[in-house]
């Protein structure tokens, strides 16, 4: 079984990865992307994920672990494995604002689109991703609200623990959340 934390960039995927790690789950990450001002506690990412459409062979390394894969790449998951997906959801305006800040910090530019159209497009891509993973027989998934984690992390930690088979330390998971830090970072 492979566990995946998914969603859009800046939807709380790094926070969920930290929660799972703290709760006792093994994380597939190479730490190539270092913590920075956008994510002071680190990204918990695995570089090979980015090339999933071209080369999915590495996915076997994620067996029994958790790996972060953005929603747009879920279409490329090899069918022969079983997956559980934690799908992060966050207010779309906040996501776009946060991505803009990150792009600014990275000194680069993103989509040349009106923010409203970008939101609409991302929303459609999220809907498509959810439709695909709902139909797939080898995938189970649950939505996780980033905003609810910030308000009160314990219920979400419990929900995740139940979904993943009651193998995690819920208290430790919840302790990761520093609402002030996340709120200020948007």
């Amino acid at each position: 079984m492979i566990t995946i934390v998914s969603g859009l960039p800046r939807s709380g995927t790094s926070l969920m990865m930290q929660m799972l790690e703290k709760g006792g789950m093994e994380v597939l990450s190479d730490q190539i992307r270092k913590p920075d001002e956008n994510n002071v506690r680190g990204y918990n990412e695995y570089e090979k994920v980015r090339s999933l459409p071209k080369d999915p062979s590495w996915i076997i390394e994620a067996e029994g672990k958790v790996v972060k894969i953005i929603a747009q790449l879920l279409f490329f998951l090899p069918r022969k494995f079983e997956y559980r997906i934690l799908f992060m959801e966050r207010n779309m305006d906040e996501i776009i604002e946060s991505q803009s800040k990150m792009l600014q910090n990275l000194g680069t530019t993103g989509a040349k689109l009106d923010p409203a159209i970008l939101i609409q497009t991302f929303q459609k891509q999220m809907d498509q991703a959810k439709a695909i993973i709902t139909q797939a027989a080898n995938i189970e998934w649950i939505p996780i609200s980033y905003n609810e984690i910030l308000t009160d992390p314990a219920p979400t930690a419990e929900k995740v623990n139940v979904f993943l088979g009651n193998s995690l330390i819920v208290q430790d998971m919840a302790s990761v959340v520093d609402a002030t830090l996340y709120r200020t970072r948007c």
């Binding site: 953005i70 790449l73 792009l103 990275l106 989509a111 689109l113 497009t121 991302f122 459609k124 891509q125």
Partner: protein
């Protein structure tokens, strides 16, 4: 709901069909099916749009909207998830097609082969995608239908069996197109192979259409055949009269292909008419024409979609059925008018957001269509793809760029990225041309500026200079023209270099092949090539289109002599260049040389009798000479060719006013103002007419109010 005027409607699409080829064939009795439609119904030109690219055009035909609204921008689009490019899809169309509106109103619809038509839309009848007919594998290999080709899916196996593979055709099938088939070495000359493919594809589409008509009930059926366009691109250079650069031997072999292609379509049409039955309304249209005479270009531009240079600006329309006029000509139709004309046939209103108009002249007397704000606001099952499948591929691509920039997805490999970048640039260029076509120069300009900044391609700069010129930003336009001239020269040099390299490569390959085959190498004739190179070196580079624009710019800023100089230079080099004499006529008009202007416009018409601008130029010349009867006739000719031409309506109004036909004059001015509400002269003249002979002071007052408001602002 208004009265339903048609029992059933069959819409047939013949890509690139052109009256210039059809008329001699009909006169010779070689297209009897089409002739029967023409005799029992109405016929006319169908003006195309710019850019004349088929997927954009057929979507405009099916929606009544320009591409900026319907969203199909060229032949390809970004594939989802940054996976390169793919052919344009039905999921990218932003608005309802006519069959969606009809289905929403409880009418049973079938669609076969429309472009773009993949994946098949879930209509209430059968939908066969435009990927259906293509044979992707040799006949001895599996040839499965792509997923999404047939709706409903359960009918896939039936339609799978109806396909014809090109390899199934025998010499007997191809011989009507190429009589001396035996003379062709098909190992070397692959044209017969491509011909067989075109014939098999068309026959496959026809099989699917006739199967549906034989076995299903229907209210509306649309069938699209792309073969005439393919015959044109492959074989129009061999069509009589012989073009100077075509070798006699090849001309003799392939000269009948185009005419035979039309005869083949007439045979298929005859069967469709028979199956449709006498009460069915039949509408036959093409999206653009295809140059078949002296206007055929010697070559096509070395740019994406360059073969579109061979397209001519007028397609065809024929309509026959109950409540349709008999044996009449209709004027001024554009392909945007097809859907707004089909809807009233079913008693349905036309969307105010559609860019086209109902061709009321095609209907029997007194017909006025009903209107609705927009069909897009009408809820209900309409047979479009589920909203999860619909997407704007260009916005999706931009969103993927954002994820790449954030470091969450790798860039596609170099080839895919290049293809993607090209697709994005092309779509933007086409969008800009759509805006130019709609005279929305302010919207086109920033797109073109961006493209021009990224890459100095003469075609981008050319359109940009045109926008600036139309916006009366003459200095900036001149500055861009100057740079375009340098860029075009460089491109020309590079093209020549490329051609030489390709010729050299072909020569070396031929030598190598001869050697491999153990034949004694023949003396290769290089002298003609050397002579051609010398000629190319001696001939100074000139871009006639650019010089035409220079002439137009000089004309606008009052430098008439300089304009004349530029244009006469072009005339020397390319005396039959379309548009040249039109421009010269304009200069002569400004210089008050009426006779010379008249000669120039007549010369323009001798080159292209379908030039609405030349007819309008002639109208202006006659007005200056106080020849109002001639002027009215010339303006009517112009409007007949291009209805959406405010200047021609104005000239018509002017002539009619001078001839004291004041009511008709007022009508013409009103039409002109509907198309160009900012024009002041027709409004002033209307005020005068309504105040004076027409005695309708309230209307005069309304127009005066607009004038006063404009002056105040």
């Amino acid at each position: 709901m208004a009265e339903r005027l048609a029992k059933k409607v069959l819409l047939v699409g013949w890509d690139a069909a052109d009256w210039k080829v059809i008329n001699p064939l009909m006169d010779a009795g070689e297209m009897p099916a089409l002739e029967s439609l023409v005799n029992q119904g109405v016929m006319g030109n169908l003006a195309t749009l710019d850019p004349p690219l088929s997927p954009m055009m057929w979507t405009s035909i099916a929606t009544g909207m320009h591409a900026d609204k319907h969203g199909i921008l060229g032949f390809i689009e970004p594939a989802p998830k940054a996976q390169g490019v793919r052919p344009v899809m039905t999921t990218s169309r932003k608005v309802k097609a006519v069959w969606n509106i009809l289905m929403q109103n409880g009418l049973k619809t079938h669609v076969v082969g429309w472009w773009p038509g993949h994946p098949a839309e879930p209509v209430n009848g059968i939908y066969i995608s435009n990927h259906y007919q293509r044979a992707h594998s040799p006949i001895d290999k599996p040839w499965p239908l792509q997923p999404g080709t047939v709706h409903p899916k359960e009918m896939e196996s039936i339609f799978d069996q109806l396909r014809i593979h090109p390899a199934e055709l025998s010499g007997a099938h191809v011989q009507p197109f190429v009589q001396d088939l035996a003379k062709i070495d098909q190992e070397k000359d692959k044209r017969v192979e491509s011909l067989a493919r075109i014939i098999a594809d068309a026959a496959t589409i026809h099989n699917a259409a006739t199967y549906i008509m034989e076995t299903e009930t229907w209210d509306f059926m649309a069938v699209y055949y792309d073969a005439i366009d393919h015959f044109g691109h492959g074989f129009m250079n061999f069509h009589p009269p012989k073009m100077a650069h075509v070798p006699q031997e090849q001309f003799d072999l392939y000269k009948d292909v185009v005419n035979s292609g039309y005869r083949f379509h007439d045979l298929m049409l005859a069967r469709l008419i028979e199956l449709a039955g006498p009460d069915t309304t039949i509408v036959l249209v093409s999206d653009h024409g295809f140059h078949s005479d002296h206007l055929r270009p010697m070559g096509v531009s070395k740019v994406p979609a360059g073969p579109a240079d061979q397209h001519s600006p007028y397609g065809i329309i024929v309509m026959k059925g109950p409540n349709i006029q008999k044996d009449e000509r209709i004027y001024g139709a554009t392909l945007l008018d097809v859907t707004p004309t089909l809807l009233p046939l079913f008693g349905l209103p036309v969307g105010k957001d559609m860019d086209g108009h109902t061709l009321v002249q095609a209907f029997e007397e007194g017909f006025i269509p009903e209107m609705i704000d927009s069909w897009e606001d009408v809820e209900g099952e309409c047979g479009m793809h589920h909203k999860d499948l619909q997407e704007d591929p260009w916005a999706s691509q931009e969103a993927m760029e954002q994820l790449i920039a954030l470091g969450y997805i790798d860039k596609p490999d170099e080839n895919k990225q290049k293809a993607l970048d090209n697709a994005v640039n092309e779509s933007q260029f086409y969008l800009a041309r759509v805006y130019v076509n709609k005279s929305k120069f302010e919207e086109a300009l920033p797109i073109l500026q961006k493209l021009w900044e990224n890459e100095k391609q003469s075609r981008f700069g050319f359109q940009m200079a045109r926008c600036l010129l139309e916006m009366k930003r003459y200095k900036e336009s001149q500055a861009v023209i100057d740079v375009v001239r340098v860029v075009a020269k460089k491109e020309h040099k590079e093209n020549i270099k490329k051609q030489k390299e390709e010729a050299k490569k072909r020569l070396e390959e031929a030598k190598k092949k001869q050697k491999e085959e153990g034949k004694q190498a023949k003396e290769i004739q290089t002298e003609p090539i050397k002579q051609r190179d010398k000629k190319q070196k001696e001939r100074p580079f000139q871009s006639p289109q650019l010089e035409l624009m220079q002439g137009r710019l000089d004309l606008e800023i009052g430098k008439y002599m300089k304009a004349l100089e530029s244009l006469e230079k072009v005339e020397k080099a390319t005396p039959r260049l379309p548009g040249l004499h039109q421009q010269l006529g304009q200069v002569y008009l400004k210089m008050k040389l009426w006779n010379k202007a008249e000669d120039a416009f007549n010369k323009a018409l001798s080159i292209d009798p379908h030039s609405a601008h030349a007819h309008n130029g002639l109208a202006e010349t006659y007005i200056r000479q106080l020849r109002y009867v001639d002027g009215a006739e010339a303006a009517l000719n112009s409007i007949g060719l291009l209805y959406h031409y405010p200047r021609a309506h104005f000239n018509l109004g002017l002539c009619l006013a001078r001839l004291k036909r004041t009511e008709r004059a007022a009508e013409a001015f009103e039409v002109c103002l509907k198309m160009a509400p900012k024009m002041k002269r027709p409004r002033r003249l209307l005020v005068r007419l309504y105040k004076g002979p027409l005695k309708t002071p309230d209307k005069a007052e309304a127009h005066q109010k607009v004038l006063d408001e404009e002056t105040a602002s």
